[in-house]
């Protein structure tokens, strides 16, 4: 990584306020400020809570709303969970190393909150649980720690949206997520970031998947952000564990994204897939992907496609690492522009050049594979549509 890149990614934590912004609890999400509602909707939050199994909302430095109405799944603020479960010795700081970097260290030293979500064995929760980590005040630094436990043979979908209030300029979000998927468990985890042009984001996530577990990890970032740095690490530790990671990123001018992921295949019959689709309309995207195969038979595939529409930088770094004979790892990376051949094909059907380009870009940013609820997919399609208006 170049020195310029390092400077851009290094944030002075002391520039932000980490004390004193605890908020009142909000009983009914519909009471939220109209202007903030839109930001929340874009981050996947259903304020009516109709199509959700539970909701967790954290604002600035404290919990604002936590409700679950579905048997089989527990949603708590992390602080309450630490009290209730004797500090969660098996889970709390067990996957993520608190000394990993200064951002992680900051959360270790001062915890504002975060969610704790745990299923019961065998529970199949059909409607998603939604969570939102929201920043409502300028200059706020937010430290959250999330823990998800998907018990044996249970199934869960979590939609987690992160956003800021309409009038927030600068903010820093530091988030630790530790995810544990037990034998035969299945988690679909969809994270939608809808930050602001002066916000810095440093999530640090690790997921451990046991035998036969499935982890589908979706990440969507379509709106401006000053800088985002994510590199979730997924350990497939049990035989037959499977993980797919899909990310869709758009970097407008001024955005700096370093978003990738790592999957470690530690057990036989495990399968990993990392797919990323990135578009820059003037910002910078660094997309590192790493698959490591330490057992056989395992399969891993990394696909990293980037489009530079006019200006901007995309730096795809696909890495494959096999440590035993017999691993099957592959990758496909491409950085380019919208193919002229595809544009002309659509022009021959009567679309002008702009219509053709936006049709191709919409296809490129297709979220169909993520298995999202229809109203969320609609909100995302609309965001892409709106982002598209600025693209060309």
């Amino acid at each position: 990584m170049s020195d310029i890149e390092k400077t851009k990614e290094d944030i002075n934590i002391d520039d932000f306020l980490f004390d004193g912004d605890e908020v009142q609890e909000i009983e009914d999400l519909r009471e939220i400020d109209e202007r903030d509602k839109k930001n929340l909707l874009m981050a996947g939050i259903d304020l009516e809570e109709k199509e959700r199994s539970g909701t967790f909302l954290h604002i600035n430095h404290s919990k604002a709303h936590c409700k679950t109405c579905t048997p089989g799944v527990e949603v708590l603020d992390i602080k309450e969970a630490l009290d209730k479960y004797d500090s969660l010795p098996e889970y709390y700081w067990q996957a993520v190393d608190p000394k990993k970097d200064k951002y992680t260290q900051a959360v270790f030293e001062k915890l504002h909150g975060g969610y704790f979500i745990k299923t019961e064995k065998g529970a199949k929760i059909d409607k998603p649980i939604q969570s939102c980590l929201f920043i409502k005040k300028d200059k706020v630094g937010q430290n959250v720690h999330n823990i998800i436990i998907v018990e044996e043979d249970s199934e869960l979908h979590i939609i987690t949206g992160c956003s800021v209030a309409h009038d927030v300029k600068a903010a820093l979000h530091l988030g630790i997520s530790e995810i544990y998927i037990k034998k035969g468990g299945k988690l679909t985890f969809t994270m939608i970031h809808n930050w602001g042009p002066e916000v810095h984001v440093r999530p640090r996530s690790v997921c451990i998947v046991e035998e036969g577990g499935v982890f589908l990890n979706n990440y969507i970032l379509l709106k401006p952000v000053k800088s985002a740095q994510l590199y979730p690490t997924i350990y497939l530790n049990g035989t037959g564990a499977v993980s797919t990671s899909n990310s869709i990123l758009v970097a407008p001018p001024g955005s700096y994204l370093n978003v990738g992921g790592r999957m470690i295949l530690n057990a036989p019959e495990t399968r990993a897939e990392i797919i990323s689709r990135t578009i820059t309309t003037g910002g910078t995207i660094v997309a590192p992907g790493h698959i490591q195969g330490n057992a056989v038979p395992v399969k891993g595939h990394l696909e990293c496609k980037g489009l530079i529409l006019k200006d901007g930088t995309i730096h795809a770094i696909p890495e494959l690492e096999g440590t035993v004979a017999g691993v099957e790892l592959s990758h496909e990376a491409a950085v380019g522009k919208v193919a002229q051949e595809e544009i002309e094909y659509l022009m021959a059907r009567g679309l002008d050049e702009d219509e053709a380009t936006s049709t191709i870009v919409r296809g490129f940013l297709n979220v169909d594979i993520m298995g999202l609820p229809p109203e969320l997919k609609q909100a995302i399609d609309q965001t892409i549509e709106e982002a598209g208006e600025d693209m060309f």
């Binding site: 021959a348 059907r349 296809g363």
Partner: protein, 252 residues
């Protein structure tokens, strides 16, 4: 409908069409024969206006408009439609959505059109993703049915297609060309013909398509020039017997 006058075309600095003159009338279907590399596909691509095909001399007039340098989408909107030989895959663009885009806001029943070409199962797949030769042809015809062109450009309808698909493709092509109209109580045949004024320019090697459509005239493209105008079936019979040798003599 279409007039081409002394058309010279270069691809990356190399002259491929060396003075082509061709005129296709309303409701006329014209067949283009010729060996590989003679410039047939180049002619179609130039009529459609693709970027690699540079007109250095001559004119293309379509329905009275000089389209020699018009952008591709304007030609499409004027009524030129083309069936691609090797169309690109567009990830994330469903066949259904592309068919709808082809209709440019006209009301169409995508499901019904798809049924005609046996493509219902492909509507929710990404366009051209893993399509076989026959599937590509059927998908192209499906898009053209939605587009309803006035001039149909069809590059080798039979390539990569098995016999069963050939019959289907032949019938749909015939329909697109406004041939095989059925008399109806509402309108006389004459009236129906006036309503549908469609011309065709079709490239064929094997001539199988001639079993399905009525072709009026044909010519042979040889080394960037047109020659030997005759009835398509006669040209085909001649080529089968003697190959393209005679065309060379006729061009000298």
């Amino acid at each position: 409908m279409l007039q081409i006058q002394d058309l010279h075309v270069e691809i990356r600095g190399r002259e491929v069409l060396k003075g082509v003159n061709l005129s296709i009338e309303k409701n006329e279907t014209f067949i283009l024969f010729g060996p590989n590399g003679s410039g047939k596909t180049t002619l179609l691509m130039t009529i459609m206006g693709f970027s690699n095909y540079k007109v250095t001399k001559g004119k293309i007039i379509f329905k009275g408009h000089d389209i020699t340098y018009a952008p591709t989408y304007e030609r499409a909107r004027l009524g030129i439609g083309m069936s691609f030989q090797r169309p690109p895959t567009i990830n994330g663009l469903k066949t259904r959505d592309l068919v709808r885009l082809c209709s440019r806001g006209r009301k169409i029943d995508v499901g019904l059109l798809a049924k005609k070409v046996n493509m219902e199962e492909f509507l929710d797949r990404d366009i051209n993703q893993g399509f076989s030769g026959g599937e590509i042809k059927r998908s192209e015809l499906l898009q053209l049915m939605a587009q309803q062109p006035k001039l149909l450009l069809f590059d080798e309808p039979e390539s990569g297609v098995d016999l069963e698909n050939m019959a289907l493709i032949g019938q749909v092509a015939k329909e697109l060309l406004g041939q095989g109209l059925q008399p109806s109580p509402e309108a006389s045949m004459k009236k129906l013909k006036q309503l549908r004024e469609v011309s065709g320019l079709i490239i064929t090697h094997t001539g199988y398509i001639l079993d399905y459509i009525n072709a009026d005239r044909g010519m042979v493209m040889y080394n960037g020039r047109l020659c030997c105008e005759a009835r398509p079936r006669d040209i085909l019979e001649h080529i089968r017997k003697y190959g393209y040798k005679e065309c060379v003599r006729c061009l000298i």
